[in-house]
């Protein structure tokens, strides 16, 4: 197998989102990936299976999502930049491990190529057990996905905390002209396992129960470790800058929020209404956790109303309401919209449909 480096960051390419994401992960230094086929995540796994070995990485086709995240967990413990992923259902199987990987203070990028947007709670609140949080990034298109994948690997390495990148069917299967950044190489962190600290009386430990072996006591002190983890989580939350795309909100009487692919459609609807003379603004949260609450609070000061569009029954809606805190009515203009496949194609996602819904709220 000849070792061929991934293409350097120079010429744009026409790539499907799945391939762009895979190339971006490889460029970001990912050298271990494991997954289980499931639409619309499958193609990312296919591309990684093809391209990761070319750069000396390992891609495992796991026999279950549970094993996939277990393998990624083991690889991450060796300091190898690692990632795994699935769609919402597969992520459900991974939740227990995600909690423990967080408690073990390990970096891991987790891709949820979701079916519609019903996984917002799962991603931002976490479906696992105990006190833990994940950073959650949500791209609206392949170009942004490439940037956010790079950011995800930087953030997860910096904070030793899993980062979830929330994509969907559109992102996976829409081809665009994109540019893959230059290959980044990452240093192996000192906490990484490779056996070498064995026999030194200070053999390393990576565990959800503690970060170091106790020499003066028996077993692990979970209370101390959990307190350390909470402190680390709070420090992460305090230092990670919430990201959002904001447009024409200064003089807006109504502000519309949406995330992910629907965000791009809502942006187009808002621009059309703006050109028709409606004082409408647009906010698209990019970091779903930490949620850009302060930004939303400031932007919605003095507006007549706020509208939220999501392809679910209203989940980001909660975070918007928390940010607005009653300063203005918050209307939900989204809803579950699925074609017969259930893979996340939303018949509602028509600019004209969104224009009408925004107008209807503005008229109230």
């Amino acid at each position: 197998m000849t070792l061929r480096m991934a293409p350097q960051a120079k010429d744009p390419q026409l790539l499907q989102g799945s391939e762009a994401i895979a190339d971006a992960m490889i460029a970001a230094g990912c050298r271990f990936f494991s997954g289980y086929p499931m639409t619309p995540f499958t193609e990312v796994l296919e591309v990684m299976a093809r391209k990761l070995p070319e750069v000396g990485g390992v891609c495992m086709n796991a026999e279950s999502e549970l094993e996939a995240i277990g393998m990624a967990w083991g690889a991450a413990a060796t300091g190898t930049p690692s990632a795994t992923g699935s769609t919402g259902q597969g992520l459900s199987l991974m939740q227990e491990s995600l909690s423990e990987i967080t408690l073990a203070r390990l970096p891991l990028v987790v891709l949820n190529m979701g079916r519609a947007q019903g996984d917002y709670y799962q991603a931002t609140r976490g479906g696992g057990h105990g006190d833990y949080r994940h950073l959650v990034l949500s791209p609206a298109d392949a170009a942004e996905a490439i940037d956010l994948i790079g950011l995800a690997f930087d953030l997860t390495e910096r904070w030793r905390n899993p980062v979830v990148v929330l994509g969907d069917y559109y992102l996976a299967h829409t081809a665009r002209s994109v540019t893959i950044p230059a290959m980044k190489t990452r240093e192996t962190p000192e906490w990484a396992l490779d056996g070498s600290s064995g026999g030194t009386r200070h053999a390393k430990l990576i565990s959800p129960l503690g970060t170091a072996k106790q020499r003066d006591d028996v077993g692990y002190d979970i209370a101390v470790h959990y307190a350390d983890c909470v402190a680390a989580t709070n420090e992460m939350i305090a230092n990670v800058e919430p990201l959002a795309e904001v447009e024409s909100t200064d003089d807006a009487e109504i502000i519309v929020l949406a995330f992910g692919t629907p965000g791009a459609y809502v942006r187009a609807a808002v621009r059309q209404l703006r050109s028709d003379g409606l004082a409408v603004g647009f906010i698209r949260p990019i970091t779903l956790f930490p949620f850009p609450s302060d930004l939303v609070a400031r932007a919605t000061q003095g507006v007549k109303s706020v509208a939220v569009y999501e392809n679910n029954q209203g989940q980001m809606l909660d975070d918007v309401r928390l940010a607005v805190l009653g300063n203005a009515p918050v209307h939900f203009i989204g809803g579950l919209s699925l074609d017969s496949s259930g893979f996340g194609i939303a018949p509602d996602l028509e600019v004209s449909v969104l224009v009408d819904r925004i107008r209807e709220v503005a008229a109230r």
Binding site: E63, L66, A68, G70, M71, L193, G195, K213, G219
Partner: protein
């Protein structure tokens, strides 16, 4: 009255140390495992085997969750703590990312055969070059003696009070026998730690399993029958015979597969 010999200090007469309190790779001897527990005995074998094969500075032990989990704190080798049942997957990730490491998993029968059967079977079928070690006492010890997938028929546990009944509770899974039939496995054996002789035999099995991994011969597996007087509701000194009469009668010790023919 027969007089007892002094045993507070090393002898004055010229002599040599034959066995120390703990092997070199057990840093801390103290632990909270029950009186008569077989697990620290098995762990001693594992650590002595790793030391003897001079694998200390390459080894990563991936621990499952059971009574033995806290014992990982006592070891002077690198430890990666997994979730209940998932150790073989983590071990796969470690070994595939760092092929130079020697990776062992330390799991119980509840962890491996009840919770994580899929993980160990697939790791074996993939022929992962790792050594999985199962401490089999036929009960969930940590929760106080409940039935697992290896509990033998007639064995009383807190979830099979009148003894495991095939009609009610199904039959035990003989994991080593299963693994021996999977092509990806290179070495499969069962040992026990209920007598000094069995302890010595178990250590040899561990040495052979580690050797298989060193030679990338494929998946190696050692099942070690251990005593759990607390979970068997018997006196500590009765446990060695109880093991022979119940566990070993079903999960028969011996070498089931050895492709290297060591």
């Amino acid at each position: 009255m027969s007089t007892y010999l002094p045993t507070d200090n090393p002898p004055d007469e010229p002599s040599r140390l034959v066995d120390d309190f703990v092997p070199t790779l057990i840093d801390v001897g103290a632990h909270h495992l029950c009186p008569g527990c077989g697990e620290p005995i098995a762990m001693r074998c594992v650590m002595e085997a790793i030391d003897e094969r001079e694998l200390t500075a390459r080894s990563v032990a991936v621990f499952g969750i059971g009574c033995y989990t806290a014992f990982s704190n006592n070891l002077d080798i690198e430890v990666l703590q997994a979730l209940h049942g998932r150790a073989p997957s983590l071990a796969t990730g470690v070994k595939r990312s760092k092929p130079s490491t020697i990776v062992v998993t330390i799991q119980g029968d509840g962890d491996m055969v009840s919770e994580g059967l899929q993980e160990v079977l697939h790791a074996a079928a993939r022929g992962e070059n790792i050594t999985c070690i199962m401490l089999n006492n036929g009960v969930f010890g940590e929760t106080g003696g409940h039935m697992t997938a290896t509990t033998v028929l007639g064995q009383r546990t807190k979830t099979s009070l009148e003894g495991r009944d095939a009609a009610l509770h199904g039959r035990p899974i003989l994991l080593s026998s299963l693994l021996a039939q999977i092509d990806g496995t290179a070495f499969v054996a069962r040992g026990a730690v209920n007598s000094a002789g069995n302890v010595a035999r178990t250590k040899k099995l561990l040495l052979r399993a580690l050797t298989a991994q060193e030679q990338n011969a494929g998946f190696s597996f050692v099942e070690i029958l251990t005593m759990c007087p607390t979970g068997w509701f018997i006196e500590t000194e009765e446990a060695p015979d109880y093991l022979n009469d119940n566990l070993a009668a079903v999960h028969e010790p011996g070498v089931l597969k050895d492709v290297l023919g060591q």
